[in-house]
Symmetry: C2
Subunit: 343 residues, 2 copies
DNA sequence: GTTATTTACTTAAACGTTTAAGTAAATAAA
DNA sequence: TTTATTTACTTAAACGTTTAAGTAAATAAC
């Protein structure tokens, strides 16, 4: 191979020297500038290919004030919903040659703040975020917006903020799911959820309440159990104790990992699903149909939400001049009934 | 607020002007250089904090030839194993103030090649990769190594390459799992797996074969089913057809998503697990204990593998001068027996 | 009291791109 | 034939850091 590079990493200057051209010409040729002859473009591209030239993204980002990178900020990654969202984002961002950095808040407001604060540095061109469940003060988000970094919320938004959002119809889904439990004969339905300020949890709670109200089922705060928002034995205990004391005949679970906990609790207490207790859960786990018994789920359009969120961001970034703060999309979730609510 | 910045993004030059210092002093003060007085350091840090100064990472990376970013290249993300690995990586990388870019190959060799080729640009300081199952030509990986980018393989390595690896004992796990099936009374055990060049699949296949051999169970190629490496209805059909024709009484499944497919196939065919057929699967799904019936699994130390892999990379990057190509770690997986192999 | 060393800074170049502005040669317009 | 325009480049500055090298003032050594 006569490539004159001795295995050293090649940069634009070296490439220019090889071709007897200026770096400006190389740069423009590679970006297909009208300013460069077709012949030269071909020569440059051939040489770049042959010598494995790849432009240094830091130099490029520094000069252009564009990173071609977006940040995805989520509470957890070991969750079917979030990983499917990432798949959706990747399906679009990958094609557009965008890179994405992932940040996990572990559902902690403090981490979220320190993660977002760093984004004023120009590291990313935009942010897709699903906020921590205990995020109520949104100053860190406003600060980012004021710094000119576009933000799109998905799933968990901060309703009080003027920002783009892609969510699902949590209120209605919870309402329909609760109705379904009532229709299947439940008289005492408990909500197993997570404490948090974000709207998805309050919406799900309100949907649940509305359904109960409409069926004249009295429910008090003792029918709601607040669990930790991660998979722990503690949650199993919480649910067991609740079932022992409140003796519900229906459960609405608002997060994925609660399905396993609730099932284990039922198995431990020898409660038969659905005969003794019926269960619905918000989850995208593919194992739902093979659980014991198959689980009735509220299936969220995770992949599509990811696509839509990143699509909005790209539309903004490509200067199609949409106003992000006016973009709000609510994609429908679907109640998939299975044996866990059958009879 | 008298911050002289009018809401514009502040850079080092602006900060220097505010403090009547040179940018060199600012830079050194923020990095705690011995060259700067404590008094000045305090002044600088206070002002930086107050004005929300965050250094531009592109400028910094360009100058230092360090990105403080690593790449994680995996086949899929909607998989408990990989998402737990990411959690492990994040648990270390997050603390070290490293950022990570995620790239999905969708198990395609071509995508893997084009993703890795880009890494010679200096975008990342190192790469953690689990190769695509059909990667046999490893030129793209060697090229990256020659360019001086450190690589650590996890789970799926390229055994022929001199590179660090963190794997689990696939051979032995498959061997033990198959033995377990035999001990539980299986006489005809099928392997449901995925076609691929990577060692995990061949190791699992060999472990399976060795166990059968030792028990003098004759097995032919008709006992092995090669599925697509993603969750599809096609796989369910493949498995059903195999069970109809080969009539196995035991199944060893080598990838997570096959558990759901196999269970559905059994349900459809009215085969009772474990009475008619016993099942073991390599999976980290938390729902394993609540499946119908609870699934015997080979649980991989995903989180620890992520930690170990990124730990090796950091040890190398911090110039502790370990030789990556000599680092090979094999972490043990654990057979967790449940009803799917009971009697 | 002169010289050497230390302290606490500053100056300026460099990292590898992109791009506005400039230019010489070729072509078109008058 | 002269002038205007177009083509295909080059020059040089800029992006925001880091750092080697330099320096003036203060302190220490002799």
């Amino acid at each position: 191979m006569e490539d004159n590079t001795n295995g050293k990493k090649i940069n634009m200057k070296a490439l220019a020297k090889v071709l007897n051209l200026s770096t400006a010409t190389i740069s423009k040729a590679l970006r297909d500038s009208y300013d460069i002859s077709e012949q030269t473009k071909a020569r440059v591209k051939e040489a770049a290919d042959r010598l494995n030239y790849v432009a240094n993204p830091h130099a490029s980002s520094l000069r252009k004030h564009l990173s071609n990178t977006i940040a995805i900020v989520i509470p957890e990654i070991a969750d079917s919903f979030f990983s499917q969202v990432i798949n959706g984002i990747e399906s679009i961002a990958g094609k557009e040659k965008y890179h994405f950095l992932i940040y996990l808040t572990h559902d902690s407001y403090e981490r979220e703040v320190s993660i977002l604060n760093e984004f004023t540095s120009g590291r990313v061109d935009g942010v897709l975020i699903s906020v921590a469940s205990n995020t109520s003060d949104t100053a860190h988000i406003s600060k980012l917006q004021q710094a000119g970094i576009p933000i799109v919320f998905f799933d968990r938004d901060c309703a009080q903020l003027p920002a783009a959002s892609v969510t699902t119809d949590d209120f209605n889904s919870a309402y329909l799911a609760t109705n379904h439990l009532v229709e299947q004969g439940c008289k005492k339905i408990s909500l197993i959820t997570v404490q948090g300020y974000v709207s998805i949890f309050s919406s799900r709670e309100e949907g649940y309440r509305k359904a109960l109200m409409e069926h004249a089922i009295v429910s008090g705060s003792s029918d709601i159990v607040y669990c930790a928002n991660k998979y722990t034995d503690g949650n199993i205990t919480l649910i067991s104790e609740h079932m022992a004391s409140a003796r519900p005949d229906g459960l609405l679970l608002t997060v994925e990992h609660l399905a396993t906990s609730a099932y284990l609790a039922c198995h431990q207490m020898k409660l038969r699903i659905p005969q003794d207790i019926k269960i619905v859960c918000f989850t995208n786990q593919i194992t739902a149909p093979v659980l014991d018994p198959p689980l009735t789920t509220i299936l969220q359009p995770a992949f599509e939400m990811g696509q839509k969120a990143v699509g909005l961001l790209f539309e903004y970034l490509s200067h199609n001049y949409i106003k992000l703060e006016e973009e709000h999309f609510v994609l429908p979730s679907r109640l998939v009934t299975r044996e866990s609510t059958g009879n």
